[in-house]
Amino acid sequence: MESGIPIEITGLSKHFGHVVAVDDLTFTVQPGRVTGFLGPNGAGKTTTLRVLLGLVHPNAGTATFGGTPYASLPRPLETVGAALDANFHPGRTARDHLKVYATATGLSKARVPVVLEQVGMTEFADRRVGGYSLGMRQRLALAYTLLGDPGVFVLDEPINGLDPEGIKWIRGFLQSLAHEGRTVLVSSHLLSEVQQSVDEVVIISKGRLVKSGTLVSLELDSAPRTIADSPDREALSAALDEAGLEYTEGRNGFIVNEPDPGRVGHAAFLGGVELNTLHRLKSGLEESFLSLVGGGEE
């Protein structure tokens, strides 16, 4: 195994036509920890990862592995293992897929059965990929990242499509990679999906960095709030405005930036609005995350 190398993103910008996908993004990912790369769909996560891997050309800025761009790595698959989208030629078996790329990068074919076993795919290795479930494709994509036993892992939404058993497995897998001193960057649009396996978070929204730090620091950021709902949301909205309370509308009601439910209840009382929900929102990572990325818009 190669030692972990930091991932360094500096002043990165990328636009597609008039659409700004990544906007002056700067962050560093350190070895020995699992870093969650979070943001809603369309926040620019995949574009950032594709630029990092030399697949998409940036308009400005750099993305390197310890100062070296991906295309300049002397042995790319032995330095970085990347799984972006679980796309394969449907007519090729998993074993052949891995052999093709082991050949391309000069790795021994003996690695193929090893990595297939590591991701639990030995049993299905000689079936054509066309018949695979999404979970099996995700495992095959992970097997590809393991071919060169690299020190850096870049995984785009690796948990998407896994069954509960698979999710449990990948959590342990990511942690064990980090414990071995490797750099692990895992993207997700759901904090809850990765919060049990990440140590650090990098959160982006609309292509910009909104938070970078430990998972614990994210927890501290989130002040307690109140959730309130009414059969007549318009009236409740008016009552909250009247009382000068700040809020966002969520699926289960209004999330009010006010730790005391009593004051929210009072505001509703003054407005003559019936409430069917009123309680303090537990200080939660997900809420903190959603408030950072703008109320959980997709």
């Binding site: 594709r50 295309a71 790319p76 394969f88 007519g91 090729r92 790329y101 391309a104 000069g106």
Partner: protein, 277 residues
């Protein structure tokens, strides 16, 4: 080193999916039908000129003493060339269609190396398809000709030179396929272009060009005409009615090589260099 590995990887890509032998099988069947069938028909017509003229109602007369063997054998390229083009184009467009450019460029970030490896491996695949096509055209064609007591030409070194040039033509067509795929990464569009151009557009252009001496000198540079010139024989030569201007065999080869290189170069500088998402 990385270049050798890239070529090895490209061959594995071809042989780990079914397309290559499906195309090889279709090619063999098509050529067997045409070489065997036409060989038998020409043999019969040549043996019974009066009956043939009566049956054909004044159709293409077979010139007495015309060497039939090269015509029959060259079906391997004159109708078979579409198969290496398709295989070469699919080698490129398949990467776009199945989004496998991501793992490909992760394993070998130098895109020119990958495209050059595709060019050379598909050149070799084209040569392989050429060997299959000529094995079938000579096998069925010689059997048909021999059946009517006609000369099979198999003891003539010119026949074997023709076969060698035919295999080279098929190899060049494979490389042209790579260039086409790089120019037109949309798989359906690339297939439609290959079929439409080789089966309709070019035959019509060649026929139209041959009606006039000036256009005939342009028409001989059409890829199919250049290919027939390289091989040295084609049923087009007896099927076409007007002036049959042709290039020297080596000029035909250079035209095909030029098309392959230019298309691959332009595709490599445009679609192949773009963002992979």
């Amino acid at each position: 080193m990385s270049f050798i590995r890239a070529i090895g990887s490209e061959f594995q890509k071809v042989f780990t999916t079914r397309m290559w032998w499906l195309l090889a099988l279709l090619l063999a069947g098509y050529v067997a039908l045409m070489s065997g069938g036409f060989g038998a028909f020409l043999g019969w017509a040549s043996a019974n000129p009066d009956a043939a003229a009566a049956a054909g109602g004044g159709g293409t007369p077979i010139a007495p003493g015309l060497d039939l063997a090269p015509l029959v054998y060259s079906f391997a390229t004159s109708i078979g060339y579409v198969f290496p083009v398709l295989l070469g184009a699919l080698a490129v467009t398949g990467e776009f269609r199945h989004k496998t450019l991501t793992p490909t460029f992760l394993a070998e970030p130098h895109r020119t190396t990958v495209l050059t490896a595709k060019f050379l491996s598909q050149f070799a695949m084209g040569a392989g398809l050429g060997v299959i096509a000529f094995a079938v055209s000579v096998g069925t064609g010689a059997a048909a000709l021999a059946g009517f007591g006609l000369d099979t030409g198999l003891d003539d070194p010119d026949t074997w030179a023709l076969i060698g040039r035919g295999v080279l033509a098929m190899a060049l067509w494979g490389a042209i396929g790579v260039g086409l795929g790089a120019l037109v990464p949309n798989q359906v569009a690339a297939i439609v272009i290959v079929i439409a151009f080789t089966q309709f557009v070019e035959p019509i252009l060649r026929f139209t060009a041959s009606l006039n001496e000036v256009t005939a000198n342009i028409g001989k540079f059409l890829p199919g005409a250049a290919s027939d010139a390289l091989v040295g024989a084609s049923f087009y030569n007896i099927a076409s009615l007007g002036t049959a201007a042709t290039l020297e065999w080596w000029q035909g080869g250079l035209v095909l090589l030029g098309i392959a290189l230019v298309a691959t170069f332009i595709g490599g500088a445009t679609t192949w260099r773009g963002d992979v998402s």
